[in-house]
Symmetry: C2
Subunit: 410 residues, 2 copies
C-alpha cells in the first residue's frame, strides 16, 4: 500500500468488533500503509471530521492484544444511513473531500447490514466519479443475520456467553424447591432472527438438561400451547427454564412484549412503560398456573461479555479485518469479506470476498428445518452449526482482579 487507511465501526457493539479493528491495523501496517486512521463514531463522526491516528493507541503488541480483549466499539459507533446519492450529493462530496485530504487508499467499515449499505453507496459513488479509494466491509453482528457469510464475527462470543449463563441459571433454578414449582424465563436478544436464542441450547450436555423450551422469533408464538407445555413439564420437574427471543410475536403479528401494554400502564410522567417479553410471560404463567416465576433479561451483557469470549470468534474477527485490508490493497472495492466454513470436523474456515450489492439489507433467519416441528426447540443441526463457533477461550488480561481493556481518552 502507498496511501493511508481509514477504518470505522458501526451498529451495535460486540465482544469481537475490536479484534477486527486490530486485524485491520496490523495488516495495514504489514502491507506498508502510511497512517491508519480510525473514524470516531463511524461515518457520522467522519462527517464532522472526528478521527484519530490509531498508532497513538496501538503502540506495541500488548496494546493490540488488549484491543482484541476490549468489548464494544473502541472507536465509538453510530447508527447512520447515508442518503441515496441522487438525493444528497453534498454529503458524498464532503466525505470524499475528507478522504482526499487524508490521502485514503482504503476505507474499511466494520458493521452489520446498515454498514454494508454504506460501503455499497460509497463504492458506487467512487465508481461513478472515478475516485481511486477502495471500500471494503467487514461483517460484525451478534445477531448473525448477515447473508452470504456462514456466520458473523461477534456471534460466537455472544453464543458462548448465552450458553454459559443459561447453564448457570439452570443450576441456580434447581436449588430451591417451591410447592408449585419455579418457571424461569430468560429473554435473549434478536428481534427477527433466533440465532442468539437458539444458542441457549449449548447449555445442554452430559451434566445439564439444557433449557426446557426455546422459542425463536421466526415462528409465530402460541401462548396457550406454551402454557400447556409448561404445565406438563411442571408435573415432572420442579424447575422449568425457558429461553425466549425478545422478538417473539403472536400469529396476528403483535409482539408478546406489547401485550402487557393493552392495560395502559403509564408511569408518573405519562410514558408508556414497556414490560419485556420475559416479564410478561412470567406474569402470564404465574397467573395461569399459580407457580413461582421469574424473568431474567440477558440485556446488553450478552453483547459485551469479553470476559467470556470465544477464541474461534476473536481469531476469525481478527482474520476478517486483515482480509478486508488485503482485498483493498489488491484492488477490490464494493466488497464484503465473508467467512466460509470449509469443514465441520475438524472445524475449518476461510475468508472470501463477495459483492456488497448482494448482501446489503438481506436478513438471514434460522432455517425452518433447524427448529423442531412444534416450534419449541432447536434441532441438532442448529447445535452442530453453532458449536464450533464457541470453542476456545481468550484469557482476559487481569489487573487487580478485573479484566483490563484498551481505552481511548475521551
Amino acid at each position: 500500500m502507498k496511501g493511508n487507511v481509514i477504518v470505522g465501526q458501526s451498529g451495535g457493539p460486540t465482544a469481537a468488533i475490536n479484534s477486527s479493528l486490530a486485524g485491520v491495523y496490523r495488516t495495514a501496517k504489514d502491507r506498508g500503509a502510511g497512517k491508519v486512521y480510525g473514524m470516531l463514531h463511524g461515518i457520522q463522526g467522519l462527517l464532522q471530521e472526528r478521527y484519530i491516528d490509531l498508532s497513538e493507541y496501538i503502540t506495541n503488541e500488548l496494546d493490540a492484544e488488549l484491543l482484541k480483549r476490549t468489548p464494544a466499539a473502541f472507536l465509538g459507533s453510530c447508527r447512520f444511513k447515508l442518503p441515496e446519492i441522487h438525493q444528497d450529493k453534498a454529503v458524498y462530496e464532503k466525505i470524499f473531500g475528507i478522504l482526499d485530504k487524508l490521502n485514503i487508499e482504503a476505507f474499511i467499515y466494520i458493521g452489520g447490514n446498515d454498514s454494508m449499505d454504506t460501503i455499497k453507496k460509497l463504492s458506487d459513488y467512487a465508481i461513478v466519479t472515478g475516485h481511486p479509494t477502495r471500500f471494503i466491509g467487514c461483517p460484525k453482528t451478534i445477531d448473525n443475520d448477515l447473508a452470504l457469510t456462514d456466520h458473523t464475527p461477534g456471534y460466537g462470543s455472544a453464543a458462548k456467553y448465552i450458553g454459559t449463563s443459561v447453564k448457570e441459571i439452570i443450576r441456580d433454578s434447581f436449588c430451591l424447591e417451591y410447592e408449585k414449582g419455579l418457571v424461569s424465563i430468560v429473554e435473549i436478544m434478536g428481534r427477527n432472527a433466533g440465532w442468539l436464542t437458539g444458542a441457549s441450547a449449548l447449555a445442554k450436555g452430559e451434566d445439564c438438561a439444557g433449557p426446557d423450551l426455546i422459542y425463536l422469533p421466526e415462528l409465530p408464538f402460541d401462548i396457550e400451547s406454551f402454557s400447556a407445555k409448561v404445565k406438563e413439564l411442571l408435573a415432572r420437574k420442579s424447575s422449568v427454564v425457558v429461553a425466549v427471543s425478545e422478538g417473539i410475536r403472536l400469529e396476528d403479528g403483535r409482539y408478546v412484549c406489547e401485550l402487557g401494554q393493552s392495560i395502559d400502564f403509564v408511569d408518573a410522567f405519562g410514558h408508556k412503560q414497556l414490560s419485556g417479553t420475559a416479564n410478561y410471560l412470567a406474569s402470564f404463567i404465574a397467573g395461569e398456573i399459580g407457580c413461582k416465576t421469574r424473568s431474567i433479561e440477558l440485556s446488553s451483557l450478552q453483547r459485551a461479555a469479553s470476559h467470556c469470549a470465544s477464541r474461534v470468534d476473536i481469531l476469525e474477527a481478527y482474520q476478517v479485518g486483515g482480509a478486508a485490508v488485503k482485498a483493498a490493497d489488491e484492488g477490490d472495492s464494493g466488497k464484503m469479506v465473508v467467512l466460509k466454513r470449509l469443514s465441520d470436523d475438524p472445524y475449518q474456515s476461510g475468508t472470501e470476498v463477495k459483492d456488497v450489492h448482494k448482501i446489503a439489507n438481506d436478513e438471514k433467519l434460522v432455517p425452518r428445518e433447524w427448529v423442531t416441528e412444534d416450534g419449541s426447540y432447536v434441532t441438532d443441526e442448529f447445535i452442530n452449526y453453532v458449536r464450533p463457533l464457541i470453542q476456545g477461550d481468550v484469557s482476559p488480561v487481569m489487573v487487580d482482579g478485573i479484566p483490563r481493556h484498551l481505552y481511548r481518552h475521551l
Copy 2:
C-alpha cells in the same frame, strides 16, 4: 473421627457454596469419617429423610475440582426456619432420631443468617438433651451481611462478576451517541446491605472511570438530588452509568421499586406487577430529562457466575468447609467458622470459630464512613476492603466450549 458426617446447604445459592461442600467432604475423609452424607434441600429435606452418600458423586480428585467450579447448591437448598424448641419438640425428636440412625458425629450447615439460627437451635437441643452430635455452621452468602466474620464466602466471586460486568456495561454504553445522552441504570442485589452494589466501584481503574454514581440501601435515597446529579453529569459526558441496590428506599421508608405501583399497574390476571428499581428510575429519568435511558438487572446471574469466580473466594470457601469439620472433630459445637483478615498487603486470612449465639440474625451493613458524604459513591476504604477478595481466577473446566459442572441425578 469415628462416626459419620452430614452436611447441608441452605438459603440463596452462590458460586462458592459448593467449594465449602468440597472442603467438608475432603477434611471429613482425611480425618477418618465413615460416611459423609449430604442432606438434599437442607434441613427441610432431612426431615423427609432425603439425603445422599456424597462418595457416590465425589469419586476422585477431578470430581472434587468440578464441584468447586459448580455454581448454586449441589445438594439443593431450602429456606426453612426451625420452630423454637419449646414450641414443637417433635420436630427436634424427629431430626435427632434420623441423626442417630445415621450415626452422625458432626452436622455441618452451610448458609447465611437463617442457617446459623438452625445451628444454634440444634446445638442448644443437643446440650439440653445431652446428645453427642456436634453442630457447626459454615458462613455463605453473596450479601456479605453476616456479623463477626470479616467477609463471607460467595461475596468475593459475586463482587468480581459485578465489577467485571459493570465495566463491560460502561464500555458498551459509550459506543453509541445520543443527542441528549444515555443513562444506564444497573440494578444489583442486596435488600438491606450494599456490599454487592458497592462492588461496582471495582470497575474503576486506569482504563475505566467506573460507574458515575453508586447508591446503597443503607442510606435514604433522594430522587430529586439523584436526578440533579444525573443532569449535571450529562452536561459533561454523553453516557452516565449508575449502580443502584434493589433495596434503596426513600426517606419515608418506601422502596423505590414500589413507586411504580402507586399507579395500580395490574396484569391481566389481577396480579400487581413489580417494576424493578432500575426500571422505575430509568423511566423517571427519561421523563425528567428526556434523554435515552436503559435499565439492566444483574439478576441471579450475579450469584451463579462460576465462570467468573474469584480464586481467593473459592479457596477460602473450601478452607472454611474444612475448618468446620476440624472444629467438630475437636469437640466444638454451636459454633460458626469465621474468616479473619490477618493483613491487607499482602492479603492474608485465617479461620476461627465463634459462638453461633453471637451471630444469628445480626445483619452487617456497610459502615457509614465507607460511603461518601453525599451518599452517592463508596470510599477508597470500601474498595480496599473488597479488592483482595476478588483476586485470582478459577479456570472453568471447559468441555466443548462451555464450563462443565458436577451434577446430581435428580
